[in-house]
């Protein structure tokens, strides 16, 4: 993150490194290296507990009051991705650092929906181009109600910055 750009959850909505790692919804790097795990980028006390209800493992805790920031139990989370499409803030990602390339799963609500195998532009939190990545999985079920889960494979150094994708025009679909 460049210093001159406004950063900070309450300033512009993008966490500083400190805010990111202190967030109770963010698992440790060690846990990400073990396999897929939810990264809940929900930093503010806003009234919502949809993720807590959606988690089949009970790995997310909001409790009372409902404005509590969600706490992730990183050992209970298996990275099943079911919390991704339910989050109204589109703030939950799943990161997997267990193999040579990082896998980042993100919520996607734009058209066109990319296809598995397609190359896409991978963007950071400010929408800046990071790298090209390959779509390795697209998940959808009726209960996701038009939020798709797209997983892209990117070089490991981008795993904590890749938060958006852009479909490349003319790319074979």
């Amino acid at each position: 993150m460049e210093a001159e750009e406004p950063t900070g959850v309450n300033v512009i909505g993008i966490p500083t490194d400190e805010e990111f790692w202190k967030c109770p919804g963010v698992p440790s790097l060690k846990r990400m290296k073990r396999g897929p795990v939810a990264v809940i980028e929900c930093f503010q006390e806003i009234p919502c507990n949809v993720c807590e209800i959606a988690c089949p493992r009970g790995a997310i805790k909001v409790g009372h009051p409902i404005t509590n920031v969600p706490i992730l139990n990183e050992d209970a989370c298996v990275g099943c991705k079911l919390c991704i499409p339910v989050c109204p803030g589109l703030a939950i990602f799943v990161v997997d650092l267990s193999s040579d390339e990082a896998k980042v799963s993100l919520p996607y609500e734009m058209l066109p929906i990319p296809k598995v195998g397609e190359r896409v532009e991978v963007l950071d939190r400010r929408g800046r181009f990071l790298t090209e990545g390959r779509v390795i999985e697209v998940l959808y079920a009726d209960k996701f109600d038009r939020t798709f889960i797209v997983t892209v494979s990117v070089p490991k150094e981008y795993a904590l910055h890749a938060r958006s994708i852009r479909v490349i025009k003319g790319e074979k679909r």
């Binding site: 406004p6 959850v9 309450n10 300033v11 512009i12 909505g13 993008i14 966490p15 980028e41 929900c42 930093f43 503010q44 006390e45 806003i46 009234p47 919502c48 507990n49 949809v50 209800i53 959606a54 009372h64 009051p65 409902i66 404005t67 339910v86 989050c87 109204p88 803030g89 589109l90 703030a91 609500e109 734009m110 058209l111 963007l123 950071d124 939190r125 400010r126 929408g127 800046r128 109600d145 038009r146 939020t147 938060r163 958006s164 852009r166």
Partner: protein, 373 residues
């Protein structure tokens, strides 16, 4: 259109529909909901995003579907919803209230009702600048109606003014509809809305320009260019800091104010509270105003969120049907509802509104000599 009702609810948004459903559930029989719009649901029907909140407030469900659920509740419970109907007059003489209604097919008529629940919502604020009367300068609510209800994209390139949740959410929805959002400008040095909503548009490449406002909008017949400039620490614009955007739509999302025409007309007492968007009727813990039998809920009682509007609607519905409940039942339902409202208003975003609501209850007590009647 002459008729008598137990309760007439004005406004079929989340608050009005919840109030009607709750009153019907508690034993009220003749409940009429009127709305000037052709589509019920108030703002819900243009909300295509998933809602925040808890299960009790339909969290995780897209707004328009919540509208369908609430409308279905009212109709299943035997309530009547009359659309395209505006309230053009209202009088209060103690027991019975009279509302004059205007409907394009049925003409003008009056209804008498024992109780009125006013759920008229809020209206958008605007700011003025050179060029603000050009076609293409619109309120965010209007843009949302065009895009999400009538499926008309009024623009290719949008400048959004205001980074509150409305500005951020509408920006995201414009992106979904295929428009380009050239920037979101915010006069304060920090965003007004939630970080998660800002993050959604930022990661799609939309810049959010802090300490920046509109200087002027240029164009011959419609908006062609928008000029923005930076605002210094003293709150004054900085000459020479102008940026010109090629844009055909300037979307204003600069806050909302309670729609209090009807509560004013009836003679309810009001109080000015900045945290709730301005002048708002004073009410007790059952949402009853200083006029007996006149209730308020939702944004007219202070601009907040849909989940709060739903809960306040329930509260007003309970309040207006208390005669069908035992004293204990009524007070425990009211208590339960306040517990949920307090929870929704906790945290740094809700705390100022929670405090303002406390002030309203206190003011009610001072002016009427009792907390509850």
């Amino acid at each position: 259109m002459e008729a008598e009702y137990d309760i007439v609810v004005v406004g079929s948004g989340p608050a009005g529909l919840s109030a009607a459903a709750e009153a019907l559930r508690r034993g009220c029989k003749r409940v009429l909901v009127v709305d000037e719009n052709p589509i019920p649901g108030g703002q819900l029907f243009k909300q295509i995003h998933k809602f925040f909140g808890s299960k009790e407030h339909y969290a995780g469900i897209r707004g328009f579907r919540i509208g369908e659920i609430l409308l279905n509740d009212v109709e299943k419970l035997g309530g009547t919803v009359l659309l395209r109907t505006s309230v053009i007059g209202a009088s209060y003489d103690g027991g019975t209230k009279t509302l004059w209604l205007n409907n394009p097919e049925r003409g003008v008529g009056k209804v008498r009702t024992r109780k009125v629940i006013i759920a008229t919502g809020a209206k958008e604020n605007v700011i003025a600048f050179p060029g603000w009367t050009l076609p293409g300068v619109m309120g965010a609510g209007a843009v949302q109606t065009l895009v999400n209800i009538y499926r008309v994209l009024p623009s290719r390139r949008v400048l959004m003014v205001g980074s509150g949740n409305v500005g951020l959410i509408v920006s995201y929805q414009l992106l979904q509809a295929g428009a380009e959002v050239v920037a979101v400008v915010e006069i304060l040095p920090r965003i007004g809305g939630w970080a998660v909503h800002a993050a959604k548009v930022l990661r799609m490449g939309v810049p959010i320009l802090l300490s920046t406002t509109v200087k002027e909008v240029r164009g011959v017949e419609w908006v062609e260019e928008a000029v923005v400039w930076r605002v210094g620490r003293d709150g004054r614009p900085v000459a020479g800091s102008e940026t010109v955007f090629d844009a055909d739509l300037v979307c204003l999302a600069v806050g909302l104010s309670p729609n209090v025409e009807l509560t004013r007309m009836l003679g309810c007492e009001h109080i000015y509270l900045k945290a709730l968007g301005g002048w708002t009727p004073i009410h007790d813990e059952k949402m009853e105003t200083t006029l007996r039998g006149v209730y308020v809920c939702g944004d007219v009682a202070g601009v907040e969120e849909a989940s709060i509007a739903i809960e306040e609607g329930r509260l007003a519905g309970i309040g207006a049907s208390c005669e069908f409940l035992s004293r204990e039942e009524c007070s425990s339902l009211v208590e339960e509802s306040w517990r949920r409202l307090d929870e929704l208003r906790s945290g740094p975003f809700g705390e100022p509104r929670k405090e303002a609501k406390r002030l309203i209850l206190k003011e009610f007590k001072q002016r009427t000599g009792s907390l509850s009647r």
